[in-house]
Symmetry: C2
Subunit: 404 residues, 2 copies
């Protein structure tokens, strides 16, 4: 008799963004003429840069000719891409990361969900609250948590590190032993950053406690201020205790193309076993590489022209972020983020829940955002807007919000 | 203190095909002038069909314009593709499968590796011997097996169903209770098929024992004979006990594009829980869809022109299969498969091991194949050649083999 993985039954609802998509779909069905503006899910709207489009067309043509056709990709990614990543994203910033420590994937979400597999189920995880739901949900599915406590809105057996206005949304070190520590900076959902000395304290904690930090740097390209680390490997000793994931989704508009990568340094050895080797075994067994044409698209992001174009896209979104921040201030809201990250985290009026604010905003302004509580109980009282809309929609959304 | 997933340490070596790639790389490094022909890994060589290339170019152009840009795909795949699959691959064959039972993915390998996650770790798995390594390795990693027995070359706690010349490489029903039964027909590696009445017996077994069949139909398009089921859903009651995975890799040359799908029927309910809903939760949490451009490429496979072109590709490979079968017969070998599948399973000379044959063939004929024992102990004494080479290389390989 087959049995199901009962850990799935601990999950309280559908995946946050699937749930929001459903709510919006229902609203639009009952209000067919409503002109809804989506600033909820962190999906980009600018088209792919022309240098990347050109690379895609060239790669597609290669696939149509026998002598340039590409079948299965190398498990861990094509060298042309891994070399570019190592050189441009790490070595150019003084981080001694080699191409054979880089694993190309179909996106940081997959990697963030799958990385926990190479660890024992007895590891205690620590996450920020609020937090991107994938880290916790993937660990729930794997049985690394207890039941969901509906009053606390937290899973038993998980260490939550509170991110609040008081600590500038950068967490304190966990008070109890944490074995796997998920950190995401620039942060989704709060848009906050962590300073290098704060991050160094986490690295020192991990080395002292034998913990591993899973560092999600998907929004690294949005950093505009100094003294904000772009990679955890800028911290001393991080190669011995940290795995870093990045994405082309927000950096170069690849949400629909699917490309990301994870760095597992060779120096990262747990219980005498190289985590790089374990992750390579996982990649080789359960994954067959990102498409050749998409890896060629990724390579084009590192060309001079590609780099200039994606920089322009990021500037475009960050101008949206400014418009949102200032619009919210005009409308009397307190808001955070939007300076080194494409997310704005606004405090909602006293007495409202964040789902109540979601409904009100959809109904009164036809604007979709993300209720803070969807990211954890410390997200209650907050609401996330993203800078990934078009300029026009961003301006219109702020006008509507001001008029509420 | 973080701990690793110690189940990984049970795996005896690297993933089979990664290991072969390494051996060939070493041979080529020490024999730089050797003209090695690869008939080992099941990777296609014919370019992508022109109807599909055209669809890819059109989709790439869409990604380069703001008003036609596509960001995150729907979790489970675009309707245009799921509808085509449901209609063309199932309903047209009399199988009552709906679009909302189809999950588009980045390939059948990922699905075959990941599907086990939605089941409890207490399930006993049954696999064929020989078998595609992913089914077993993924379950080893999840802790659903005991240790690897190096003498038996099998994992403890797994039910192996022998596929031998005596049973035509189609297994008998498991003798002990099996909860999750992996079947792959047309078969990789033996090239054998299962008749409809034989498959119906497995479906009946599963319904009687509360088991789930994970049916890998990646080579369905190669079936040329009647009375060979194309889908397990041709069997009565299969929707209540079977999940089916398919791939565009071998059907349409997508090994480098990455596209596949899995069918989880709504009627499949275990312990009161819909497996479709569990798999949807897994997809939504740990995966972000296949690239839009690749899904558009998949759609083009179902157009009249696309269908005719991929049918020609399959005919091309099956002509290679005929050349290999007849060449092996001429050279005095007994061989199986190659009629409804792109794999030929040859019996190697008495007294040799399959790795010995691998080395001999590489050294004497500069031809790469796959040692049967890599697929399990009942693969010892056999060797797999694939029909996926170019015509020229296939002919040359057979000439070389005849001359040994």
């Amino acid at each position: 008799m087959a049995t199901i993985n009962k850990n799935y039954l601990k999950l309280p609802g559908s995946y946050l963004f699937s749930g929001i998509a459903k709510s919006v779909h229902e609203y639009e069905t009952s209000h067919p003429d409503a002109d809804v503006i989506r600033l909820g899910i962190g999906d980009v709207t600018q088209p792919i840069a022309s240098a990347v489009i050109r690379a895609l067309h060239a790669a597609v043509d290669e696939m149509g000719q026998a002598d340039t056709f590409h079948g299965y990709a190398p498990d861990l990614g094509y060298s042309f891409l891994r070399d570019a990543i190592a050189r441009e994203d790490y070595q150019a910033r003084g981080c001694d990361i080699a191409a054979d420590e880089i694993f190309v994937s179909d996106g940081a979400k997959s990697d963030c969900g799958n990385l926990q597999e190479i660890f024992g189920t007895d590891n205690r995880i620590a996450v920020c609250d609020p937090v991107y739901p994938v880290y916790v949900d993937a660990n729930v599915m794997a049985g690394r948590t207890g039941e969901y406590d509906r009053v606390e809105q937290r899973f038993q057996g998980v260490t939550y590190m509170s991110c609040t206005e008081d600590n500038g949304f950068a967490p304190e070190l966990p008070e109890e032993q944490a074995d796997l520590i998920y950190l995401c900076f620039p942060n989704n959902p709060t848009g906050a950053v962590i300073k290098k000395d704060q991050l160094q304290r986490f690295v020192d904690y991990a080395r002292e406690h034998g913990s591993v930090i899973l560092y999600d740097a998907a929004y690294e390209a949005y950093i505009s201020e100094d003294d904000v680390p772009h990679s955890i490997y800028e911290c001393e000793g991080a190669q011995e205790c940290a795995i870093e994931s990045r994405s082309f989704s927000k950096t170069a508009g690849f949400t629909g193309l699917r490309l990301g990568y994870t760095v597992v340094p060779k120096k990262l050895v747990i219980e005498g076993t190289s985590l790089r080797d374990l992750w390579a075994r996982r990649h080789g067994t359960k994954f067959n590489g990102a498409p050749y044409i998409v890896q060629k698209a990724g390579e084009a992001v590192y060309s001079d022209e590609g780099r200039a174009q994606v920089r322009e896209q990021i500037a475009y979104y960050m101008e949206n972020a400014r418009i949102i921040r200032e619009g919210l201030a005009d409308a009397g809201y307190t808001a955070y983020g939007g300076v080194n990250a494409p997310y704005i985290w606004l405090r909602i009026p006293e007495g409202m829940t964040s789902w109540g604010f979601f409904d009100m905003l959809l109904d009164k302004a036809r604007v979709v955002g993300t209720p803070g509580v969807g990211f954890g109980p410390h997200g209650e009282g907050y609401f996330r807007l993203t800078a990934f809309g078009s300029r026009e929609n961003t301006i219109r959304a702020m006008e509507r919000i001001r008029k509420i």
